[in-house]
């Protein structure tokens, strides 16, 4: 389907253009707390990242340090988090598993304000086998496809650090996320072109497929509308991405079920 729309947008090839501009942003300080927290069914110390927004493109979130962060599992169990390292804004739970069928409450106290959010997970569907194609120059690219019936996304971490193509000092890894939200959106159908991501043979690909609940789907759909889907020929009104955090918070607290696997890219004859 997307192929068709690529052809359709050829209509603009002879006429449209894009260029870099130096237009200063009308930035302002916002007293917002950014929450990035995805608990999963993996037994681990789960991270809850707290930060402040930043004012320049490609900036880094200013850590929100010194917060009290607690995760409560179904009114039964309380997981207190620890900021590690101190000053990083990364808060880790004790080792835990966020399971399907339970509700989780995130509670944050920060600079005299309280924030909370509630989330639960849905099951994840199996992943099909990883597919990849040979590209030019002996490199490879992932073939990203929809899978299953429910909304999900797959996080691909690709590393070629152990290959001869990795030059000293270079960052020989990459991360892609393929979102499959099962929605029909014009801006998604006509989304702008994405860079090609190529890697050499013998790269290691770690896949993690996340299930997406209804509320998380709404959030991610908005995130994509403002990021990967923004800049095509059929954009929608710019709006703030919704959140499940109480007033003053942005970002999202989600619980997902995750499947993962690891594949080594084999050179194709």
């Amino acid at each position: 389907m997307n192929r068709f729309f690529i052809y359709l947008t050829l209509i603009f090839i002879f006429s449209c253009n894009e260029e870099k501009i130096d237009k200063p942003l009308k930035t302002t300080d916002t007293d917002l707390l950014v929450v990035e927290a995805v608990l999963t069914n993996e037994k681990m110390n789960h991270r809850i990242k707290l930060s402040r927004p930043y004012q320049e493109l490609n900036g880094n979130n200013e850590p929100a340090s010194g917060a009290n962060v607690v995760v409560i599992e179904g009114n039964e169990k309380v997981y207190v988090t620890v900021e590690s390292p101190v000053g990083s804004g990364n808060y880790f739970t004790e080792e835990m598993t966020a399971v399907f069928g339970k509700q989780y409450l995130l509670f944050i106290q920060f600079e005299g304000k309280e924030f909370f959010a509630v989330a639960g997970s849905v099951p994840v569907e199996p992943m099909p086998e990883l597919e990849y194609n040979e590209a030019e120059g002996g490199l490879y690219r992932l073939q990203l496809n929809d899978s299953g019936e429910g909304p999900n996304y797959v996080d691909y971490h690709v590393s070629w650090a152990g290959t001869p193509e990795c030059q000293t000092g270079a960052l020989c890894e990459g991360r892609l996320v393929y979102y499959d939200l099962k929605t029909i959106d014009v801006n998604s159908l006509f989304k702008p072109d994405k860079e090609d991501f190529l890697f050499p043979a013998n790269s290691v690909v770690v896949r993690r497929k996340y299930s997406v609940s209804s509320g998380y789907k709404t959030f991610l759909r908005s995130v994509l509308s403002e990021t990967e889907w923004r800049g095509g020929a059929f954009d929608v009104q710019r709006e703030n991405v919704p959140t499940n955090l109480s007033a003053g918070g942005i970002g999202f607290f989600a619980v997902s079920t995750v499947l993962s696997d690891t594949t080594i890219i084999v050179e194709k004859p």
């Binding site: 002879f14 894009e18 870099k20 892609l176 929605t183 923004r230």
Partner: protein
């Protein structure tokens, strides 16, 4: 479920009564039809009694008179050839000094009263272009001696009632030779007037002896232009475009380059209606909006109302573009065509019976497929087309029948998927002149719009949104005298809405979005009167009833917009109706023949709503919904104050209008609303208010060697919606305060014409980020106030040159070449500003894939730069 409303029934009874009265009036007139029988008489000094007997025998009319008051033996001499009974009686009444009236089917003669007010005659008829028989719409008929006049209506019909006498009567129309006829109006007369197009002259002569329409008409915010005006304007890819020529009009904001969307006086784009011969066109775009559907070649006249529309028109808050197609040359066959870079046009017209009936067929087909086939051999269909046709018949002096249709569409299909949309419109019209003062136009019009997204052509799986409308209406015009006119009528129509559903081989696939049906009944009246030498008044009322009808289902939402109930309506069940009253009034003060002030107040209501949160300039997956359980009718109140000035003998006119418009029940959207395949679509809507205000200046010169439209406007457009922008007022996308439009055309000599067009407007508002944050590796913008920033100002210069290839201007084969340059100085006018792309080695920009790389930049996306084109046009007759 029926939502009853007693007032509906009362209104229904009221309408029924009024309809009955109208039918009785029609019936009464029908009884008198014998008066219109045509007779040929030759009375040579015979008695009045004998003359009446002869008339009675020939026409079947029965006469009654008192011989003591009207001597039956008085001798009369009179000749008539193919005259109506009324014409004959008018003449005899003058000769034998009597008056007459029809009483219960008999013609009763009475002695002539000594009252000069009663001695009036009416001149009526049609004004046409003598070369092809086309109606001249808005032509002036003027009696200088009385300082009274009128204008022809959209069918070219006019009626002027004045004291019986002989007058020099002037007929004039822009671009045509003026005509003065000495007409004996001792008796009422029907005279059809044929006017001749003015030859191309290089002398700067503009002579007018009549009161300019701009000054004299009791109408504000109206712009009228003819196809020639559009054709003379430099055009994109050599395609003259009726919709895009709207950018010449102050107060109209085009969306951007590459778009047929436009915004009028602070109103959203769905508040504008385009009608072709009264049939609506719901999506006037081709190639996603690069071109519009309206081919100037098939158009006779375009009138745009930006406010205070005549009561006969309605259904939209902001504007109506009334396109009247040509009926075809009824004198001789004519073949014309055009070859431009992306499309070709061909038109054929000619008489079916010379002078009585004619036809017109005009088509356009694109030639873009081959361009795209170069990139992809999987393309199966990649084209747009238009076909416009009209047939008309003069059934009699008093009856004319027109049938017109439009069929246009776009197809962009590969072997297994693609998109497709189409507009179809059909109109059947019957014009009937009941008497010299009463005119009826009956119209049956239908419009159908479909949009398809084919997802799997092999299984016929497709998404379809649909909107159709059929409407029957009767428009009466009664020309009481030159100073007074009544227009009234009624219409009944139905709508069918499919807000987008997916089907496979015709069977629906869930989720199913409810299809809706609605009916509309409209009754209107308008009275225009001149009060003395300076003051004039035009007031009217439009009453409409909007009713929804099953089969459908509707959701009920709680205050948090959660669905709490579903209402199911069986086929034929009537539910949720709205009654709307739309008054309007315009007062005009003519300082003198060339200067006037006008003030107008009007209310408009709209019951069909475009549901889209797209900011794209291109036509996309749009759905429409009716006013119903969850959507109230949109309403607007507008106040206009204007000054109009005409500089005699120059052709120059100047107008300034200020306006203030308040709109309620306006629609905005939940953030990132899901508008496709969402059964709970109405939950995504936010309702609020909007307003527009501003001042518009325009100077026009439409005759002479140099012709131009120059306009400037300062206007604002604001919105305020609970739940949007924290409930605070914000600038809407079409708030572009300053706007300048200059269009000029100059005849260098008889073979060369040059044209230019320059547009400027303040950049459109948009929301730019005030900060960012990261989530899952993506950089997400945070917005502050809605539309807190603006795109760079827009400006563009287009140039054109037309070379007439004929050395002999009398040649039957005429052809020319049009060279045009769109965006001459290569201005990069931004459509969007993006913050999420990285620069590629080839200079392009793409969304990054690797989330570990952070090197996005700000970019602007723009369309057409310096775009030269050439088009060849020909006409043979």
């Amino acid at each position: 479920m029926l939502i009853p409303d007693k007032s509906v029934h009362r209104l229904g009874r009221f309408f029924s009564g009024l309809l009955l009265l109208l039918l009785m009036a029609y019936s009464s007139t029908a009884q008198e039809n014998f008066q219109n029988a045509r007779l040929s008489l030759d009375f040579q000094s015979i008695s009045l009694e004998e003359a009446l007997d002869i008339i009675s025998n020939q026409s079947g009319a029965s006469f009654s008179y008192n011989p003591r008051k009207i001597p039956g033996d008085q001798k009369i001499t009179y000749e008539a050839s193919e005259k109506t009974l009324i014409e004959i009686l008018d003449a005899l009444s003058s000769i034998a000094s009597f008056e007459y009236e029809t009483v219960e089917g008999k013609i009763v003669l009475k002695p002539k009263a000594n009252n000069p007010e009663r001695q009036k005659s009416t001149l009526s008829g049609f004004i046409k272009d003598n070369s092809n028989g086309e109606a001249l719409i808005g032509a002036s008929i003027w009696i200088e001696e009385l300082k009274v006049g009128t204008t022809s209506n959209v069918f070219g019909f006019f009626s002027l009632t004045v004291p019986s006498a002989t007058y020099d009567i002037s007929f004039s129309y822009v671009g045509f030779n003026g005509l003065v006829r000495r007409i004996d109006l001792q008796i009422s007369q029907t005279q059809n007037v044929s006017m001749q197009m003015a030859p191309a002259l290089l002398d700067e002569i503009v002579v007018t002896s009549f009161e300019p329409q701009l000054v004299s008409e009791i109408q504000v915010s109206k712009t009228n232009w003819r196809p020639a005006t559009i054709s003379e304007k430099p055009s994109f890819f050599g395609e003259p475009d009726a919709v895009k020529s709207l950018e010449m009009v102050p107060g109209i904001k085009m969306h951007s380059d590459g778009s047929t969307f436009y915004y009028v006086r602070g109103g959203n784009r769905d508040q504008n209606m385009i009608i072709i011969d009264d049939a609506p066109i719901f999506n006037p775009s081709h190639l996603l909006g690069l071109f519009s559907t309206i081919i100037p070649d098939a158009v006779n006249d375009i009138t745009l109302y930006k406010g205070s529309m005549p009561a006969s028109l309605g259904g939209r808050l902001s504007s109506i573009m009334d396109v009247r197609t040509r009926k075809g040359n009824n004198q001789q066959f004519e073949l014309s065509g055009n070859v431009a870079l992306l499309s070709s046009k061909l038109s054929l017209e000619g008489p079916i019976k010379k002078g009585k009936s004619s036809f017109l067929l005009s088509s356009r087909v694109s030639r873009v497929k081959w361009i795209f086939a170069l990139f992809n051999d999987d393309i199966k269909d990649f084209q747009f087309h238009d076909l416009t046709g009209k047939v008309n018949f003069d059934l009699s002096q008093d009856d004319k029948l027109y049938f017109s249709f439009y069929n246009g569409g776009d197809k962009f299909l590969t072997s297994n998927n693609g998109i497709e949309w189409s507009n179809r419109a059909t109109t059947v019209r019957w014009n009937h002149v009941f008497s010299k003062r009463l005119f009826l136009n009956t119209t049956l019009a239908a419009g159908v719009y479909d949009y398809f997204l084919h997802t799997d052509r092999s299984t016929q799986t497709k998404w379809n949104s649909h909107l159709s409308n059929v409407n029957l209406k009767g428009d009466f015009s009664y020309f009481k005298n030159p100073n007074e006119e009544f227009d009234f009528g009624l219409s009944i129509g139905g709508y069918n809405f499919n807000p987008g559903n997916v089907s496979r081989k015709g069977s629906p696939i869930p989720p199913v979005v409810s299809v809706r049906n609605s009916n509309e009944f409209v009754l209107y009246g308008n009275h225009e009167i001149k009060l003395g030498n300076h003051w004039s008044l035009n007031y009217g009322l439009r009453i409409s009833t909007w009713t929804n009808e099953g089969e459908a289902f509707e959701f009920v939402f709680d205050n948090n917009r959660n669905p709490v109930d579903t209402l199911f309506f069986k086929k034929g069940d009537k539910y949720k109706n709205y009654q709307n009253i739309e008054p309007r009034i315009t007062v005009s003060y003519n300082i003198n023949d060339n200067n006037s002030f006008k003030v107008s107040a009007s209310r408009n209501v709209q019951n069909i709503h475009l549901i889209t949160n797209s900011i794209s300039p291109f036509s996309s997956f749009e759905v429409w919904l009716p006013s119903s359980v969850n959507i109230k009718p949109q309403a607007a109140n507008q106040l206009v104050l204007g000054y109009y000035h005409y500089i005699p003998n120059t052709g120059l006119s100047f107008e300034v209008e200020s306006f203030y418009k308040e709109m309620k029940n306006q629609i905005d959207y939940e953030a990132h609303a899901e508008t496709l395949l969402n059964p709970l679509l109405e939950r995504e809507l936010r309702f609020g208010a909007a307003k527009g205000y501003g001042i518009e200046f325009q100077m026009k010169k439409e005759e002479g060697r140099l012709r131009s439209w120059v306009g400037y406007s300062y206007s604002r457009a604001k919105g305020k919606f609970p739940g949007v922008n924290n409930g605070k007022e914000f600038n809407t996308f079409y708030d572009r305060p300053h706007q300048v439009n200059i269009t000029m055309s100059y005849d260098i000599n008889l073979r060369w014409n040059i044209g230019m067009n320059w547009n400027y407007y303040t950049g459109a508002p948009y929301s730019s980020p005030v900060s960012f944050y990261n989530f899952n590796g993506l950089e997400i913008p945070v917005y502050g106030q809605k539309n807190n920033d603006r795109l760079p100002d827009y400006h563009r210069l287009d140039l054109s040159a037309t070379l007439n290839l004929n050395k002999n201007v009398e040649s039957r084969f005429k052809h020319n070449l049009i060279f045009s340059i769109y965006n001459f100085y290569n201005q990069k006018n931004a459509l969007f500003v993006n913050y999420n792309k990285t620069e590629q080695q080839d200079g392009g920009f793409k969304v990054p894939s690797n989330l570990l790389d952070k090197n996005t930049v700000s970019t602007q996306f723009y369309l057409f730069q310096f775009t030269p084109s050439i088009a060849y046009n020909f006409k043979w007759k």
